[in-house]
């Protein structure tokens, strides 16, 4: 019996780590993978989603709608920032790092000044369930479902819709796409907005479980970058398998030796992957295919 309890615990913990990694990374992966922009303001889009979600949930909106509101707000903010800051810098990818870093600092400090040092939370819904001697939060199972649903919807979006085709065309050969009548400016704008909205979605989904402070995005950013670096540029062939592998490493090491070991494990995994697979897991899979 104990074996089953332990097995379930391990599955739950892996799933939990997987959900956190996928949700925190997919916005970053889309913006980096499709546009080549390294978005250091990723954490602030997450914070934006979390704040909007918590504020609208406390104003009476049901939680799923509040999460969506958070994602939409972050997406809108993302499109605005793409238009103002990122667009002039598409030919200078290194400069976008500095620019988005600046955006990140401005947003964090403005939030601190305008909204104060913390924001009251909403509390985690749905209660808990018990398996053997352990009890688990139901909401975290919902998060695992949300991570899988997000990946599924993104896959459908990029392969089955017109926007997906246009986006992939624009990213691959922008001038031909433009010559064929695609409004590439709009596609860039929408893609960046989508990445920001996914970050906002992560923030909204995790808002009920976390302390809401202006710097909360930084809790996601390291894991997000680790996942994207290990995964490489492709979200489906990279981010998802990377999140799974890292989730297993993190859950195993944390249950064995505590949080510090889990963190060390993640960072060591990055170092090893960069050394032997410089283009990440997706680069490796695609090369095998070619």
């Amino acid at each position: 019996m104990t074996v089953y309890y332990t097995l379930f615990t391990f599955l739950y913990q892996t799933g939990d780590a997987f959900a956190f990694l996928v949700l925190s990374a997919c916005g970053l992966a889309i913006i980096f993978g499709m546009m080549g922009v390294i978005n250091l303001a990723h954490g602030e889009f997450i914070m934006c989603g979390a704040y909007v979600c918590a504020a609208s949930a406390r104003a009476g909106l049901p939680l799923p709608l509040a999460v969506l509101a958070g994602a939409l707000a972050a997406g809108a903010a993302g499109m605005l920032i793409e238009r103002i800051v990122i667009r002039p810098l598409y030919d200078r990818p290194l400069d976008t790092i500095v620019a988005t870093w600046g955006v990140s600092m401005i947003v964090t400090q403005s939030t601190l000044i305008l909204l104060g040092s913390t924001m009251p939370g909403t509390g985690t819904p749905f209660g808990s369930f018990a398996v053997g001697p352990y009890s688990y939060s139901i909401y975290r199972v919902v998060l695992m479902g949300a991570a899988l649903a997000t990946l599924g919807l993104l896959w459908l979006g990029f392969t089955r819709t017109r926007f997906g085709v246009l986006a992939r065309a624009t990213i691959q050969v922008p001038h031909i796409a433009q010559a064929l009548g695609v409004n590439t400016g709009l596609v860039y704008s929408l893609t960046f907005g989508l990445g920001a909205a996914l970050a906002g979605l992560a923030g909204g989904l995790y808002a009920p479980t976390m302390t809401l402070v202006p710097t909360m995005g930084s809790a996601f950013v390291v894991e997000a970058f680790v996942t994207v670096v290990v995964g490489g540029a492709d979200i489906f062939l990279g981010t998802a398998p990377a999140a799974l592998v890292l989730g297993i490493i993190k859950a195993a090491l944390t249950s064995w030796q505590g949080q510090l070991a889990g963190q060390i494990g993640l960072l060591v995994a990055v170092i090893i992957v960069i050394r032997i697979l410089p283009r990440g897991i997706s680069g490796w899979i695609l090369r095998e295919r070619a």
Partner: protein, 410 residues
Amino acid sequence: MKTLNGAMTALGLILLCSSVTHAQEPIKLGVLEDQSGDFAAATIGKVHGIQLAAEEINAAGGIAGRPLELVIYDTQSDNTRYQEFMRRVLQRDKVDAVFAGFSSASREAYRPIVNQFDGFAFYNNQYEGGVCDANMVVTGAVPEQQFSTLLPYMMETYGKKVYTIAADYNFGQISAEWVRNIVKEGGGEMVGEEFIPLGVSQFSQTIQNIQAAKPDFIVTLLVGTAQASYYEQAAAANVNLPMGSSVNVGQGYEHKRFKPPSLANMYATVNWIEEVDTPQSKAFVEKWHKKFPDEPYINQEAENSYLAVHLYKQMVERASGSTKKDDLRKVIAEGDVCYDAPEGKVCLDPKSQHMSHTIYLAKVSDDHSISFPKVWNDIKPYWLGDAGCDLTKNDPSAQYTPSNPPPAAN
């Protein structure tokens, strides 16, 4: 004779005038606290406390007739900022004293600089104890005040199996050592201990580790806003164990920030929080809200910072207006530098330059209201003195721990 008298009068006048201009020169107080970054929620109130005290003092004529001027820098929850700004206030701004620091990592980052320039710094924060340094005055509570009260109470009430989760830096590590020792002395058993890197916000696996160890209660020594996510996640997973802490409630006011009942059954030993129900405490809260109406919470470090300014005023005035470290330490050595603070009477111990406190056991109930099942009056910071630190005799400028006590006096 007459001319001589005139000359004497003139000389007297000149001296008087120069001493008057001297008296007008402000006393400068450097304030280095985190007004942004991970610790901001707990530390903005400390700056406000210092501003409130300075305003009161200046309205009442200043310190020994000189106005008090604050030189405030935002250290951004960043240890290297502490080092930069500590050099700046001591070298360029030439302040008379510095009030600095929240995390123990930041204190240990700036302390060598205070020693190097022979400055005089106040650390107005509870911490893991053990700093034996003549350049430092500590007004916050230390483990022998917080744990030797809290842990026996918890073990008596809930049982003897203890699990510690602590932030993984000097504060958490040394505090956990104190917990280990006091639990062992009380016949208890440590069933687990985990150190969490600062900035970690996901605790699923930690929660499972705790449930596997089946403790009677948990000691939470979590620091920073990211780690505070633990409570919400533990409540969602229905961990439902009593908690004891030396930092929560009193610093991070988690009971105000989180939705009830995630902090239910948390016991924290604090030397003051805004819920303390004595007349002088209520008057203090009222005074505070008049100046800072939007303050989300007045925590114990805010009170420590406030009373430290008044303590400093007393020391300077008793040293006949001198702000020199050696003169002020002579006053401290008299052993009766005391102040009627909002928490009750506090006194500085000359051996360690730490402060005695009233310790309140704050219990968080299901609706997150606070009650005080127990109050200990006049708990002294005895450990350093008993262990052999005596700043009136020598100044090792070191930090000691129970496993690394001061070398035997010879």
